[in-house]
Point group: C2
Chain length 360, copies 2
C-alpha cells in the first residue's frame, strides 16, 4: 500500500528517503555487521554517529561555540522539571503563558520557586500571542520562559522578547528546524524530536555555557543534572542511540535540501496554501488570529462539531490521517511539518473545497 498524508501533530511524518536509508541499514550499518540499535554507545562506530549528528546540527543552525548540544530523554515534559531544578537559582522566573504547555511548565516550576506570568493569552482562549514589546521583565528573574509554537492552538511567536541580561529559555518542540534560529538570543532552546526531527524519545537541548555553569540550589540526582550530560557528551548514561541516528539522517536531509532558510520558504508556501483558503472560505474558520499563526499547526473549524466529525469521516477516503484537533480544544488541525510535501496540503485543500461545496 502507498504512503499516506499524515497530518499528525507529532509523532509526525519523516522524509521518505530517511526511512528508506534506515530500512536499508537496519541489519548492517555501513559494513559494521550490526544494526545501529545493537551498537554499544561506547563504540567508535556509534561515537562517529553521534558526533556527526551534532556537527550537522551545529552547521544547520549555526550554533555558536559557547553553547552545548545535548541529546536527552523524557521529552519537553521532563524539561519542565529539569529547567527549574537546574537554573532557578535565586528562586523566581518570568514566564509567558501561551497555553497547555506553558501551564504544565508553570506547575512544575512552582514546586521550586516563584513563577511570574508576565503575559498571557488565556483571556482570549490563546488565539493570540501576547505582544512581546509591551512586556515588563524582572531584571532579577533567573530566566524568562516561553514556548515558541503552541501545537494545540496553532499559535507562534513572530518575534522574541528582549530580556536583557536575563536568559531566555524556549521550548521550541513544534517549530524546531522549521526555520532559521538565532541561537544567541537564547540561554537555552530545547525540543522534543517527534515533530520535525526524528522519533519520539529524543529531546535536543542547546544550552549556553554560562547558564550551564550556574550552581543548582540543591544537590541534583544525576540524570536531572544538565551539567553531567554536557560534561559527558550526552553519554553520562546510555542515550537513545537509535533515535539520535534517525535525527542525524534528518539533519543530513535538511542540509541537502538547502538548510533552514529553504525549509522556511517551503513551510511558508505550504501554510499559505491552507491559510489563504481558510481566509477565503465562508465555511471553514481558522482558530488563531492572523498575526499569531503557526506555520506548523493550522487549526480550524467547520460551523459545527457534527460537521467537523463528518469532515474527519470523509477524509478517510483520501487516506488523510490525524486531522482531528487536540482533545482539549476539539475542532480540526492540520500539522504541516518539514516532511509534509506541498502536494499533501494541495490535496487537503482540494478536499476542503469539495466539502465546503457539498455543505454550504
Amino acid at each position: 500500500m502507498s504512503r499516506i498524508y499524515n497530518f499528525s501533530a507529532g509523532p509526525a511524518m519523516l522524509p521518505e528517503e530517511v526511512l528508506k536509508t534506515a530500512a536499508a541499514e537496519m541489519l548492517d550499518y555501513h559494513d559494521s555487521g550490526m544494526s545501529v540499535m545493537e551498537m554499544s554507545h561506547r563504540s567508535r562506530v556509534y561515537q562517529g554517529i553521534i558526533d556527526e549528528a551534532e556537527a550537522d546540527l551545529r552547521k544547520l543552525i549555526g550554533i555558536p561555540e559557547n553553547y552545548k548540544v545535548l541529546f536527552m530523554q523524557g521529552g519537553a515534559t521532563l524539561g519542565f522539571a529539569m529547567i527549574p531544578m537546574n537554573f532557578m537559582v535565586k528562586g523566581k522566573i518570568d514566564l509567558i503563558n501561551t497555553g497547555v504547555w506553558t501551564k504544565k511548565a508553570i506547575k512544575d516550576a512552582k514546586i521550586f520557586g516563584e513563577v511570574n506570568v508576565v503575559a498571557s493569552g488565556e483571556e482570549n482562549g490563546f488565539k493570540k500571542i501576547p505582544d512581546v514589546k509591551s512586556i515588563k521583565f524582572d531584571p532579577e528573574a533567573d530566566y524568562v520562559y516561553m514556548c515558541d509554537n503552541n501545537t494545540i492552538y496553532g499559535s507562534k511567536f513572530k518575534e522574541y522578547p528582549e530580556t536583557g541580561n536575563v536568559p531566555l529559555i524556549c521550548d521550541m518542540s513544534s517549530c524546531f528546524l522549521s526555520e532559521p534560529i538565532d541561537v544567541k538570543k537564547f540561554g537555552m532552546i530545547y525540543a522534543g524530536a517527534q515533530k520535525n526531527v526524528g522519533p519520539a524519545g529524543v529531546t535536543i537541548c542547546i544550552i549556553r555555557d554560562d547558564l550551564l555553569a550556574r550552581t543548582p540550589r540543591q544537590p541534583l540526582p544525576a540524570y536531572l543534572d544538565y551539567r553531567l550530560h554536557a560534561e559527558n557528551g550526552s553519554m553520562y548514561n546510555t542515550p537513545p542511540t537509535y533515535g539520535i541516528y534517525i535525527c542525524g539522517l534528518v539533519f543530513k536531509w535538511l542540509l541537502k535540501e538547502g538548510g533552514l532558510a529553504a525549509r522556511k520558504a517551503n513551510n511558508e508556501k505550504k501554510a499559505k496554501i491552507l491559510y489563504d483558503y481558510l481566509d477565503s472560505s465562508k465555511f471553514f474558520k481558522p482558530y488563531v488570529d492572523k498575526d499569531s499563526r503557526s506555520l506548523m499547526n493550522v487549526t480550524f473549524r467547520t460551523p459545527s462539531d457534527e460537521l467537523d466529525a463528518e469532515f474527519l469521516e470523509g477524509a478517510k477516503k483520501y487516506r488523510f490521517t490525524n486531522l482531528k484537533g487536540h482533545r482539549s480544544t476539539g475542532g480540526l488541525r492540520a500539522s504541516l511539518y518539514n516532511a509534509m510535501p506541498i502536494a499533501g496540503v494541495e490535496a487537503l485543500v482540494k478536499y476542503m473545497k469539495e466539502f465546503e461545496e457539498a455543505h454550504k
Copy 2:
C-alpha cells in the same frame, strides 16, 4: 557484509528476525501507509501496538493483575532518582551494594533520605554477591533496593532476600527476560531495554499497586511521578513509540521461542560453554566467584593487561566485537544476552583456545 557476533554489554544484539520485520515495516506498518516512527501516539493503530506489547509482556512473565506495566524513558539512571522521589515516604531505605550501579542509586537516594547499606560486596572487589539469608532488614524501611545482575563485574543473585512487608525494588536491567521472574516477590522491577529487550531509550517498570499508591513526601514534577504515567497508560506524555514497538517484536519472538523457561535453558547452555572452558583454562581466569556468576555478562582476564589487549586485537579477524571489560574494571567481558546464538559462544571459545595455545 554478514552480521557479526557482538558481545556488547548493551546496547546489544537483537534477534535477526526482529530486525528484518522492522526493516520490512519501516515505510508502511501493516498497510497504515506510515512508519511506526511517524504515528501519533494517540492514534488507534499505535494504541494497538503498545497494548499488544504490554499484553505480550504480561503473558511472557506472568505479571499479576495488581502490578502496572510502564514504558518510560531515562534508563535505570533516571530510576535512581525517581524511586526515592516516589517511594521514600518515611525517609529511610535498606540497600544491598553490588557495585557501580547500586553506588549510583545510593548517591541519588541520599539526596532524599537515609540509605542503610545492609550488605556489600565492596571489600572483595564485588566478586561475590552477599549472602542474602544473613542480611538483617529494617522492618521500618520504606523499601529494600537491589540490582539483580551487575553488568560490569558479571555478578548475579542466585536467590532473592526475604524482606517481609518491606517492598523489594529491583533493578533488573541486564538480566530482565533472560529467565522466568517471580514478580510477586517484588514491589517494583525495572529495567533498561537495551540488553535483552530492545533499543536504548525505553525503560520498563513493573510496579505493585500498593507501592504506586504511596503519597510522595513532596509535590513531584509531572514526569517524575510514576502514578501519572500509570494513570495514563504510559501516555502522560509522548512515550518512546518506536522503541516500544521494537520491544513488542522481541516479546513476540520470545513467546514463539518457548518463553522465559526455554530462554533460561538456552542462556545456561551458552554460559556453561564459556565458564566450563574458563574453569579448565590455565591461562584465562574468570573474575567472579562461582556461586555469584552472571549468565549474561562473563568477565575474565588473561595473565596481563598486554595479553588482554592482544586478545582484543586478535578478535578482530573473527569480527568479534565489544569484548573489552568495562572502563572501570579493565579485563575482558563477553555479554551473552538472549539474542546471542550458541554458535557465537562456541566460536568465541574456539578463538580463546587458539589464543591460549599460542601464548601458554
